[in-house]
Amino acid sequence: MTTIPGDDRYDITIRSAGLRRRRITEKAFAGLAVASALIAVGILALVLGTVIHKGLSQLSLDFFTKARPLFGESGGIADALVGSVLIVGMAMLMAIPVSILVAIFMSEYAGPRLSVALRIVLDVLNGVPAIVVGIFVFGLLVVGRGQSAIFGAFSLAVLMLPMVARATQEVLEIVPRSLREASLALGVTRWRTTVSVVLPTAIGGILTGVVIAVARVAGETAPLLFTSSIAANAISTDVTHALPTLPVAIFAFSESADPAEQAMGWAAALVLILFVLVLNIVAKLVASRQRRKSEGA
């Protein structure tokens, strides 16, 4: 495409039929591609801008330290913050060990066929809609026992499992064979090789996967609706009962016609979005550090 300006007589394509039309198509294509990228970035800016604009003015110390108001008084979202932290924390405890073990089995023990079969199971599990996971846990655990934060955590753990397992398995696969062989050749047992050679080498990638999964489930509303949504607006750490959470609170605020509650919704959304974005940026930093380290090695 590059021609010397003003020296078109050397450009043989200038005489080809329909070149004008082809050049216009080329320009239109480039224009549309740029416009599409701008649209995506514009939407992100629009959503983030609105949340920041409408939420920032609501933030105060009270917002983080007081529970939600019952009738019109001022209050905060401390109850939902505490609930979210507890539920996501428990979900991590449930999901991460199992996920990493599944990934270890896939990369260290299973043959190629079994490994592919498990990959498909995890990908299908990952494709199960969050709301279906919600009614699954509802039917399995909540019916007859009532809602509880533990069940909420379990439903989030179900969503985390395939994400963390797949991410871990992918980084375990790229740990060089030679590292394992060197360790085994020194007489180290297989499981010690996995735990003290393979896992530490892959730790950056595993962390990235965990952080992204946490960011995703922290904003998940659908499974919590059925497992931990009907709760009092009070700060509580009793995980055997339903606890209020940030996403469910935002969901309730968004359905409200009261402008004061909508304002609370924007502020809660700002807190949630900041948390999720920070986690995503942390994941990116960890991933790029890991990449630099493995390139240097």
Binding site: A37, V47, L101, I135, S254, E255
Partner: protein, 322 residues
Amino acid sequence: MTSVGYDPAAPSPELERRGIRLGDVLFQGIAVAASVAATVLLGMIVYQVVSDAWPAIQEFGLAFVWTEAWDPVQDSYGALTFVYGTVVTSLIALLLATPLSIAIALFLTEIAPRRVAAPIATMVELLAAIPSVVLGLWGILVLGPWVRDTLEPWLQSFLGWIPLFSGEPSQAGMLPAALVLTIMIIPITSAICRELFARTPRDLMDGAMALGSTRWEAIRGVMFAYAAPGIAAAVLLGLGRAFGEAIAVNQVIGGANSINISLFAPADSLGSRIAAQYQGATSQLQASSILYLGAILMVISLVTNVIAQAIVTRFERSRRAY
């Protein structure tokens, strides 16, 4: 430390002679157990949802899927309204998101210099990180009023003669739901397309350009031909996501009990109806009908995902041969 040559990790001599190390056996055992648990979990989800839906499946049979009814007073239920709402909103979202995603991916791989591409790719990824409940909040309070006051009157002035664009503009309905879904699937589809395009063999592209193609002609002739199955899988994965989204759709779709042909009117989707009923059902049959909706949703998303995975697996195998 006390005696020379003592190693606490050393296996007992008896087992070692037989070539068995207890730690290895145990570790492999728990790894196997975790993998079995993950597989059983998937089976349990299918079993639990179907068995909870069983009373409604027995009562209404397969006809539930194409019956338009949601009447707690008569205790009569059918899924057609929600299947229709799910399919229409998802297809519109797909129609909008697919060309946009492909164009974004082409911009990132073919047009933008690396220094521009990296931050824009990150921003598109961050779009996927916005929780659906926040997108729904924005959808109901910002997008909805804009759709009602600006977009829908404008569409109506051009296309009002088509039944889809007839009727009273409103802030809750299928159109805003489709727009929210579009925003949710763009990052998924564009990320996969971008990877596909980046993996297209450079020598094929260069060959096409050397033969005198413009960049667009090379993309259309070489890149699209190479990536076509992958693009199809990307679109299916986006579709699976759109089908399954419950919360954001619930916030903006309006929650109607019957089908309205107009995109402006309130409607409802499978996921959204399930979410709306979380506080309980008025009868056993209604509760089980909600689970039936869940079972339909599960089957649709399993089928979409399995097809997408199959395409990806075949794609990887054939491209490795290249």
